[in-house]
């Protein structure tokens, strides 16, 4: 078995990917105009004060050594200190992570639970009005921008019905965190669910026509079993790909959704970092998100191998 060598190669690949991301983001950010010292001191800053602050923040050092120092810190598990919050970046990320993580996870779970049965239904009734309806509705789901869905959900469930809070996060002594996550998770999940329905339906149909299903049928297996065993198992591969592809979009999309719903997650922290030119914070956030995406894709690849007997791990 090449499993160990494969895993090792994948792990090295992941590290290289994350380092590439960190390098890209570091140097891209340096090209972006704007000076953190100016943003911190505002319009009344004197040139001397700006110079002082730049020195204090280490902004007077050349780029190369700064990136090198940051990398060395990374090895020690130290992401540096936020220029604006003056606290360790790792601590800030740790505070925000749960919100984004729970939000993303909830959106994926919601999307999967909604998409699977609907896709099966459509596939079994392919070509009928039921199928057409499913296709149309899922297409419509893909056609609506999440932030727009979010605003509509706020109007319906907060303003009209008064069931859920319009935004913000749980205050101390105020019920549970979950009620604040329902609407944003829903808004995030609708496009994902629509995409999943589309892909699942398509691949189930394709798989059905493949030989091994025909063989299974010929062997006299009951119709339902054919669907659930073979079709679904094989259809999950493209579905995992979709999830992998969406992971980045979900984390990225959370920037907008967190802004609309005033959620204190990673997305808004990164937005804050960009506006304030807080490069250690931005750098930490980007690398963190990238690592999460890379990890999910790695798991996706592994699951590939488990789900599809034809692709052995050594191929990929």
């Amino acid at each position: 078995m090449h499993m160990r060598a494969y895993l090792l190669r994948k792990a090295v690949g992941m590290v290289v990917t994350v380092l590439l991301v960190s390098a890209i983001s570091f140097f891209v950010l340096q090209v972006v105009p704007g000076d953190p010292a100016q943003v911190i001191l505002g319009t009344e800053a004197s040139p001397e004060a700006l110079e002082d602050l730049r020195r204090q923040l280490g902004l007077d050092r050349p780029l190369g050594p700064r990136y090198w120092a940051w990398l060395k810190g990374l090895l020690r598990g130290d992401l540096g200190e936020s220029l604006r919050y003056q606290r360790p970046v790792l601590e800030l990320l740790g505070e925000r992570l749960p919100v984004t993580l729970v939000l993303t996870f909830a959106a994926v779970v919601l999307a999967m639970t909604a998409a699977l049965p609907v896709a099966l239904l459509a596939a079994r009734h392919a070509g009928t009005p039921v199928d057409l309806l499913v296709v149309l509705v899922s297409q419509l789901g893909l056609a609506l921008p999440p932030f727009w869905i979010g605003l509509l959900l706020i109007i319906l469930f907060s303003l009209k019905l008064g069931w859920l809070p319009p935004g913000g996060y749980a205050l101390p002594g105020d019920g549970t965190v979950l009620s604040y996550l329902v609407l944003p998770a829903l808004a995030l999940s609708i496009p994902l669910a629509a995409h999943l329905v589309w892909i699942l339906r398509q691949s189930i149909l394709e798989v059905i026509e493949r030989e091994f299903i025909r063989t299974a049928r010929a062997k006299g297996l009951p119709e339902n079993l054919v669907y659930y065993r073979h079709a679904l198992r094989n259809a999950l591969i493209p579905a995992m790909t979709v999830l992998g592809i969406h992971m980045g979009a979900l984390l990225g999309g959370s920037i907008i959704i967190e802004q609309i719903f005033s959620l204190p997650g990673l997305g808004r922290l990164i937005l804050f970092a960009v506006y304030n030119r807080d490069w250690p914070l931005l750098q930490g956030g980007v690398v963190f998100m990238a690592a999460a995406v890379v990890l999910v894709n790695f798991v996706t690849d592994l699951v590939y191998g488990l789900l599809d007997p034809r692709i052995s791990v050594s191929d990929t």
Binding site: D35, G167, G168, V182
Partner: protein, 498 residues
Amino acid sequence: MGRLVRILIVSLAVALLLSGVGWGQGRLVVGVPADVDGLDPHRTVAAATFQVVCNIYDTLVEVTPDGRLVPGLAASWEISPDGLQYTFTLHQGIKVHTGRDLQAADVAASFQRILNPATNHPRAADYRVIEAIETPDAATVIFHLREKNPAFLSNLAMGWAAIVPPEAVAEAKFRPIGTGPFTFLDWVPDSHLVLRRFPDYFRPGEPLLDEVVFRVIPEPSVGIISLKTGAVDVLSWLAPQDVASVKADPRLKVVESPMNGIYLLALNNARPPLDDRRVRQAINLAIDKQAIVDGVHWGQGQVIGSHMPPVSPFYAELTDIYPYDPDKARQLLAEAGCEEGFELTITLPQPYDFHIRNGEIIAQQLERVGIRVRLEVMEWGNWLDRVYFGRDYQAATIGHTGRLDPDPFLNRYTSDSRENYMNYQNPDYDELVKVGAATLDMEERVRIYRRLQEMLAEDAVAVYLMSPNLAVGMRANVSGWQIYPIDILNLRRVYKEE
């Protein structure tokens, strides 16, 4: 998968049930559009921070809603006849949040911190005039000034002059310890900040609330729904278009006041063709300011004629110098050799929607006199660098706010000021600013600063558009809310009627 779904459904149901639970009495939830960027008043320029920390820290002098300077931590003060020595007597029994008494030495230490270059106090220059601080006894602080400074007393009332006791210094950014009516309890960045009543506050009977929660709501559309559904008791900034609907709602009310600030279209006086006064005057005549007040700000503001808001006692009424007169504008452009019009790039600051909208209307109006406008939106960090400090622009929409003394408002136009981003050069103006900054007599000062405003208007240095109103929306049972000429949300006397 099935179990997961069940867990999800159950937890959703629980969440729905619990979200209806109300909070204790005496707790006020205030929706704010931006989060604090830390809690150290000496190390920030963020308006959001001063709005909040004024409840944790006190200043020696305070300002009333109508702009008068009144005692804060200082019960009284005396100014020597030459204007060089300010003697403050502290209130009796001021407690620091740690429980000890506030001493004169703490006040001196706080100002030494402001003046220490290592602190990086963004407005330290306001206090450089202090030559020495003396504390003859525990209740007396004497400031010796290098020169006469009429703005000194009002500068002591600004949020960035707050008295930060030495024990707060180490963690002032996220664990403030002051003398104010509320103590700091918790801050979850980008979410909320909680303050609790300080029982030993030096003003008996205050504050009236037990707890205050500042909740960050960046989206105005979410903010207004939060107010209407009761998720917040107060919305500290109502978007102009929402004022009418809040007023119409019997459960809600609006407290409003003209703001101590102005919006303008800055013109780069050094860039052709804007270096020609006639062109700048033509731009002034071509802009219908009232249409901007009505169109962008729903009537929530007042047209102005120079660099001063009408709430200031130093305000000069100059709105009739440049009435809306497109014909005369065209004529002036022709005189200046621009009968074919010209191309003007207006730089708009992101993410300030109202400045961007001001720019959009201005563009429409200028097109009508033949000026072809190109709008360029620039993100704030970039804007500061390019427009404000780099002076690399033609025209830009922006606002100026929040000082009590006219000098910081108007000294930016002196030839050698670093903040003279409009590149105005006028030796007479420079001279008069110097005179104003050294004049103590109030009537004389009013005369000087009105003359300065006239000079700016005559030279059409910029297009002074309007002074906006501030509207605060709140539940009908919230009482005691006041709006101040500096940007603070002072909650000392606010209470909820049951």
